[in-house]
Symmetry: C2
Subunit: 652 residues, 2 copies
Amino acid sequence: MKLNLMPVPAQIKLSDGTYKIDENFSIQIRGETSDRILSNAARLMERLSGRTGMTFKQNYLSFENDVTLPGLILEYDRIGCLRLFEDESYHLNISTKNILLKAQTDIGVLRGMETLLQLFSSDDTGYFFPAICVKDEPRFPWRGLMIDVCRHFMPVDVIKRNLDGMAAVKMNIMHLHLTDDQGFRIECKTFPKLHELGSDGYYYTQEQIKEIIKYADNRGIRVVPEFDIPGHATSWLVALPELASAPGPYQIERTWGIKNPVFNPVTEKTYQFFSRFFEEMAGLFQDEYMHIGGDENNGVHWNSNDEITDFMSKNGMTSILELQNYFNKRILEITSSYNKKLMGWDEILQPGLPKSVVIQSWRGHDFLTESAQKGYYTILSNGYYLDLNHSTEFHYLNDPVPADSSLTPEEQKYILGGEAAMWGEVVTAEIIDSRIWPRNAAIAERLWSQATIRDVDDMYRRLEKMSFQLEELGLLHKKNQFMMLKRLVNNRDITLLKVLVDVLEPVKDYLEYRPDHLTQQSPMTRTVYATEPDSTTARKFKKMVDDYLSMPNQQTGDIEDLLIQWAENHTKLSPIIAVSPILKEIEPLSKNLSEIAKTGLHILEYVKQQKPAEKPSIIKEWQSRIEKAKQPYAQAEIIIVSAIEKLANKLK
Amino acid sequence: MKLNLMPVPAQIKLSDGTYKIDENFSIQIRGETSDRILSNAARLMERLSGRTGMTFKQNYLSFENDVTLPGLILEYDRIGCLRLFEDESYHLNISTKNILLKAQTDIGVLRGMETLLQLFSSDDTGYFFPAICVKDEPRFPWRGLMIDVCRHFMPVDVIKRNLDGMAAVKMNIMHLHLTDDQGFRIECKTFPKLHELGSDGYYYTQEQIKEIIKYADNRGIRVVPEFDIPGHATSWLVALPELASAPGPYQIERTWGIKNPVFNPVTEKTYQFFSRFFEEMAGLFQDEYMHIGGDENNGVHWNSNDEITDFMSKNGMTSILELQNYFNKRILEITSSYNKKLMGWDEILQPGLPKSVVIQSWRGHDFLTESAQKGYYTILSNGYYLDLNHSTEFHYLNDPVPADSSLTPEEQKYILGGEAAMWGEVVTAEIIDSRIWPRNAAIAERLWSQATIRDVDDMYRRLEKMSFQLEELGLLHKKNQFMMLKRLVNNRDITLLKVLVDVLEPVKDYLEYRPDHLTQQSPMTRTVYATEPDSTTARKFKKMVDDYLSMPNQQTGDIEDLLIQWAENHTKLSPIIAVSPILKEIEPLSKNLSEIAKTGLHILEYVKQQKPAEKPSIIKEWQSRIEKAKQPYAQAEIIIVSAIEKLANKLK
């Protein structure tokens, strides 16, 4: 039996037989009951009930503990605490008689419940769980997803459904990037002008934050807030021009990139402000950690402010980074006084920084290594930037502690894990799920499962199952594509457009993917936003070609069918493009797909006959078509070209 | 040019030419600006931007009024007030140069904006609005949708997306059925035990209610709360057993139907409680109306309580209705003191009821007529019960004031309009949209458009366009079906299952649709819940058959194609059913569909050859197969059988 578990547990032992469920299935809770365990048990029953159509006899809104023959026993020693290094291990034993899920904490039980749900199966005898013994615990204690809600605001629902997804793949930290140049997204009662002037009305009320924290807690997930300072701060300075390093007034930024506005680090007013601000936020957010950003301060406004440059020379500071280090230490004093530990992007790793600060590496593995060597706890985000549209494989193989790591085992202990990062420049609530999922499930596995779990094909096989289960939970990565395609063709048939979109991906380069003319107001409804960052069709086609090239005696029927479909698609799609002006920009892609597919058929003929191309001019011609087809348009590119290039290279 | 407007405006005059839009398109607001108008203008820009992919140059987050050449001018005399009889008329004039949308109130402007968005078109020259002049106003001032959030709680998001849908079809009242035997769904600060004990934790906080009211106000929609008393009150009495008519304790009801628990109307404590309760609710809900339910009090607990029967005889009351009338008048005194007008279901129409009370007719047109004749304002819900799964046509042709109405013109003025009713016994957040939409759009048209607009085929034609636009707005009536089918087959291919589901409908009879063994805990994930209440495929098939029978010389290819597809479907679907235990219950439907389709092909041959069936035994055999195929299973029925029966009848 092939299991579909994701992330793969530490130890699995399958036995013979199954545990069958029917309407008598019931749960017994052995441990101090808590909201967390009650509502997760109820949700588990609901999910099983949803899949089986069964009305279970046990009233799962009020679990009694006097069940005589429980189907599932949830046993734990204590209520877990949502903090770093909390025990999340569990032990799941499914026999033909019942299911025992044991853990030290209720959080461990939650992790095990997700494994259990992934084991749920059916055949012609009914619904069942396979008999199995699972012993499991995470490899890293910090397994996060960062969502930037500043560039485009994300309503509470987006956060909630992503928390559901995170819980399903055993992630345990939701990092909310709450402030940036383009938006201040949190209600501040002490300084209400912050959210009033800095958000266009799109911000989380404190009630909503409490709701999110409660929802996350319920799923065993910490919520770490980020207040990005001293740079990336334009939206704050709209309300606080007097704390800026250059004269105001300021307006919310509508475009992307590194901006100049930055807090003035040499006036005491700045720290007086932050003292009151963090006092309020420390009360609102329960987690022991707070993130203060600290990235991409370009120093332009600091260098052009005499007061600031005077302060630097008086204090013997020769670089912007030294001044920022001073700023960070002042902020650290403030947040420490409210019992919060700090974290920041890797720029904050400067001399004299206390060892309690966690470093988040975004610029590269080098900073991760440096942090660990210097004795700072650190997490990896470089290589986990979901907005860069890289393949799942790329993220999956990006290990915080690769096999060839130069770190000593002692140093490796400082590597806490990692965080996927979903920056918000080119996402809306409609498309964000498709940018996070299912790829994030592979990152979750990298951070939970053992380092040796690296079989890419098997990962993709399981990811397809996981993707469906994530949609079942309410994520919209597939569902919304249908609507988007319908909108593009104004409710006409989407079949032909989908053939094209299925082999397109967004370009991987920021410069192309975020062209200058796009602003915060630009719609994310164009074709590129309906493409998958890691095209399933293209991946399967590439695999077919690879398999064929490694064993050329195989049938090529499947490859040809796809090539023929693509070759014929443009002629059929053209009339729809003609009356859908929003599709005009992808006409070259449609045309190029058909042309490269025709070329592909041609090349395939040669490969099949195992004869080299008779004339160099033909190869040259093919090469030029291949280059042409690689050309991106409208921020998207045809992703099957590389497979055709491989075929052509076979003839060289 | 065929327009796709829904509801059809009062007057339309098409001209030659179009108004084309490009990135210079801008809006000018001529009138006192309000949040309502600003956010709707921004949303209009966003929707156009979404459809065209254009980044408009105007910053629609802060409309300036110094636009030199506005594409769209919004002009109105005053900010409208959300109350009965408020002016909602508008005048929309699209020329080749610009668009002028004029109204007396900003609410009228909102109604016109929806018409404008429905006129949006594209062709190979680009995006445009057709030149047109529309003068429009509603036929009825009360055009509502009632949602029961008690039997199954509906999260805020469900309400919000339905408010979006309502606004799109110009409905103006969201009636929230907030309390019933199965749940007390609103936070009560004066008596917190009400929501704490009566809701399983599923209720709206007052903050959420404010959010809903604001969201609705923003769309020109009133929110009318219903507190159903004195019956349908079990969930209140869990917290207030001392106010019940029979001894407690009480528990939240988990099953459906008419229950006995009812408030005690003869103790002053009841009215002391309601005085404080309504004081709080009158402050929370802004609308001038409050709904007190009043339906289906079966009197069992009143008749068995000596104190109550004594009170009745002392006061010369001989019926339960008289006592309830007493109760209603006492409640009316209370709510009047908080400046609220009352409404209730038609049972409350009893002697001496003040004329300020609005009567909602659910039991039949007779009660509507009676109310109007007696001089009470009244609205129709009978015939608009969406949970009964009737066809769109049925609801569409149900007119509050039919052409043959016996009411005088003077009496007709008391008929304010109607309300679609979405009772919550057999819906969840996942399926409720498919029960409300798109059928509710036809009810909205009945209540807005002139009585003469009754072309059913044209309604269905426009409804298909509207259905798509509703999905574009965020409703999930189509989107969620895909997920539901995938869940049923555990992520296998859904094509074959969909062939079957597309010709099934939920049974129309409550008794069958809500079988006794189903409770509040039963999953709404079985096949019946993935069916459309008004099957599009079946409707189109029936139309083909009707067209053919009226002109038998036509081609029958389309009819045969469908029959062949159905005839072959069961054999193909069987292996999927075999491994999906949740589908076992629909196996007879699958089998019967294939059999009746084969019979249909057989009958069609006879009809084509225009020969009567040679043997009576054949007709008898057909008839018995038809009867067999009509048999519902698993609360669903095959809905194309009637068309095959029509074919057979042709041979009689």
